[in-house]
Structure formats: C-alpha cells, structure tokens
Point group: C2
C-alpha cells in the first residue's frame, strides 16, 4: 500500500482546517480494528480549542506541533465506559487492575495506528507524540480523564506543509526471528546498524554533540537512564491515580515474591 510505503512523519501543517466530518469519518472507520472481546476499550479526546492546546503543550515538552496542528488527538486506554455499562446492567466489573490496563492500552494503540494509516491515506499529515507516556498524570488532569482512563498516545493532525525525506529503517534481518529468538551478537549488530551509523546526518549529529558513537546520543542525551527511571515511577503513579494499579496490589505482589 503506497500510503504506508511512502509515509513519513509530518510536523508542519498549513493553516487549512481539518474538517470535523472528515475526522469523524476516519475515527469511525478505524473502529473496524480488532478489539478485545469486541469491547473497544479505548476513547479519543479531540483538542481544537487554543486554550486547551496551551494546557496540553507543556505535557508534550512544548513541541510546536501541539499548538500548530489544527487537531490534536489523545488516545486513551478506557475501561471506564465498559465498567459503567456493567454497573448499569447488574454486572460486577473487575477491571481495576494491571492486566486490564494492558488490554485497554493494546486496544487503544491498535485503534490509533489504524486511524493514522487512514489519515495518511487521505493525504493528512500525522505526528505521533511519544511524550504521552512521559506525563500521563498531567495529561489526565488537563483532559479531565476519570478513573480507568489512561492516555497512551497522542497524534497531531493537519494538512502537510512540508515534505521531508523518509527516514532510514533497520533491515528486516534485525527484526525477524524464525522459530526462536536468537540474541544478536557483534556481527549481527554491525551488519544491521552499519547503514544507520554511516548516514551523514547521524555522523554530523554525533560530531556536533562531541560524542564518540551514535548510540551515545541515545543513552547520554535523548533517552537517559535517569529520565527513564524517573518517568517509570511517574507511569506507575499514573496507573495508581487512574485506578489500574493499587499500592495494595503491589504489596501483595511483593509478598508473593
């Protein structure tokens, strides 16, 4: 499919609005995505209001797409709706736990990805913001997310105002294992990362930052242990706050150990 083969992340959008009817059609078509027990354990919050974008922007480290895109979509793992349905139907829901979060996060991410494909096929430009997992409690606060709703992905959407080149990808040999996982050794890593490491822009990036290797850019600058560990605690806190995990559950788990 050309829309997938040719896709690239678009971070600059022109001023043309994205029609509400178009967005709704794509979100509705994306509902065809497979989902756990056909429960559709997700929801989307659409942000268009400038004031709301101002509040969301710091949650995404002030990346300019949040304020500049005509539409910002926050995809959430959602067991709130299903739980409310159960309560109203004389059923006793048991979805305030970690497995249920993982099930709902899966539904939300698959749904989100189908939406992205549909949007790109329509000619829209999409930027996926990984920052959602870094500040889930703040996002929950801004968007008034109740218990059993947890943000897991954000995409900014608009009509493209840039046409960047495609970025590189690892060869399939890095990704595919047959029958059993075989841990890569030095030979496989050299083979699969050589092209990426040789890219002029990557070499320049390493030089400018005074590093020895491209990998150090990731470990020392972009995704550091310190940030990851601090945001891991933030993620666990958010799961507790949103009711998918409890201090009691964790204590029980540790007691079993």
């Amino acid at each position: 499919m050309d829309c997938i083969r040719n896709r690239k992340t678009i971070r600059k959008y022109d001023r043309r609005e994205v029609d509400e009817a178009l967005l709704c059609r794509l979100l509705e078509e994306a509902e065809r995505t497979q989902t756990m027990g056909n429960m559709q354990l997700y929801s989307v919050v659409l942000t268009r209001d400038e004031g709301m974008k101002d509040k969301l922007s710091p949650c995404h480290f002030n990346q300019p797409m949040v304020k500049e895109a005509p539409a910002v979509l926050t995809f959430c793992a959602d067991f709130q709706r299903a739980t409310t349905w159960c309560r109203l139907r004389k059923a006793d829901p048991g979805y305030d736990n970690f497995l249920s979060f993982m099930n709902a996060a899966t539904d939300a991410l698959l749904y989100c990805q189908t939406f992205c494909t549909l949007a790109e096929a329509e000619g829209l430009g999409v930027c996926y913001l990984g920052t959602t997992l870094y500040t889930p409690s703040q996002i929950a606060e801004v968007l008034s997310l109740p218990s059993l709703v947890m943000p897991v992905a954000t995409v900014t959407v608009g009509w493209p105002a840039e046409h960047p080149p495609q970025t590189d990808r690892l060869p399939l040999s890095a990704v595919l294992h047959r029958e059993r996982y075989v841990k890569p050794g030095a030979a496989e890593i050299d083979r699969d990362y050589a092209a990426k490491e040789a890219l002029p822009e990557n070499r320049e990036f390493v030089r400018l930052n005074g590093k020895e290797t491209l990998a150090q850019i990731f470990t020392d600058l972009r995704y550091t242990r310190r940030d990851n560990e601090s945001m891991s605690r933030g993620m666990l806190e958010a799961l507790c706050r949103q009711g998918f995990l409890s201090v009691g559950d964790l204590k029980d788990f540790l007691a079993l150990d």
Copy 2:
C-alpha cells in the same frame, strides 16, 4: 480504505501456504510505522514448525488457529537489540525499566497493526490473539526470549477459508470526547449500547448462559475479576523475569508513597 472498512477477523484458513517472501515483504513494509526515536523497539518471531506450534498452542488456551494457521507471528517489545547495540558502542543503556517496556510495547503494537492492515490488504486473513498478555512467561520460555524482550501480541495468518459477517461496533459517540472527557451516564450508555444488546446472537448468548444481561457474560464468564487479578500478577512477574521491572524498583516506588 476498503481493506479496513471491510475487514473481519479470520479464524479458518485454507491449506495453501503463505509464501515466505510475501510475509517478509509485508513485515518489511510495516517497518515504515513511526517508532520511538527511530529505534524500532520491536521484533517478531515467526512460527511455522509444527512442533513449535504444539508448544505455543497451550499459551493461547489451545485456540485452534495456532495449529491450523500456516504462520503464527509473535510481536515483541524489544529493548534487547538496542541495548546490545549500545553496549557494543561504548554507550551505557538504561532501558531495564517500566517506561522502556511501555515505549517498546507501543512500538511493537503499532508495528503489528500496520502489518495486519497490509496483510488484510493483500487478501490474507488475520486473527489477533489477545491471549499473549495472559501467558507472557510461558511464551517467553517457548520462544527463547531473552531479557528485555516481552511478547505483546500474536497474530495467526493464512488465506481465508471462511467469510464471516462483520461484527458490530459502538457508535462514534461512545468513543469520541471533545476537549474534555465526559463520563457517560445512564442515558449515554443506553444510547450507545442499545444496538449491541439488541443483536439476536447476543440475546441468545445471554439466554443460553442463564444470565440477565450481556454485561454479565463479560464479568461472570469471559473476563472475570479473579482471572484478571491472577493474570495481572502474571504480567508483573513476566516483566520482572524479562528485566523490565525489578522487585527493588517496586519497593522504591512503594517507599515513596
């Protein structure tokens, strides 16, 4: 896109092989999916061997698709490859934590969904197995997954030998919130679940199981609190086993509380 609009889960496959070159092309094309920092934090294990299918089958509660499909793909959150790359390049990786698991699981699920769309566009039938999250430690054992590799999704793939009707979906009003999340009340739940509850097959299912409501089918039979809580512990154990979480991390987290 018709392939998305018309999609349905396919659980019966004809005996025709799925060409290895075709599978590889689709898996490679799916690599266009956006990924965190272009790190591609995923891998796929392809199962074709009958003996391996026999071992995987109980991990998926012996659903017949695992043994009957020509190809079974297990999509994994993978920080092992990136970590090995870092170690071989004088970089100190800090990805043995919960946030890193969530980042890699996200990459893996988005990649998996693009693959499913591409496979369905090619005419292949796909069944997504949610059971992967129920038995991650067993799957890790069968597929020899090392630390920092965690299975998050499984799909069975083959040429369709059935043409089931499409299943229902909730109206978009159930899923979409504008600017802020608004908790559904009885009126919204009645509106959004009426069509699902009225379906003859659902009414029959409720009657056959001696239940009062469709919601009770979910809470009492399909996804019970007891199973969810037990599998939540299994998921946390698997994250510890695969090195994405440690008892120390959890103790530190509880001490902060």
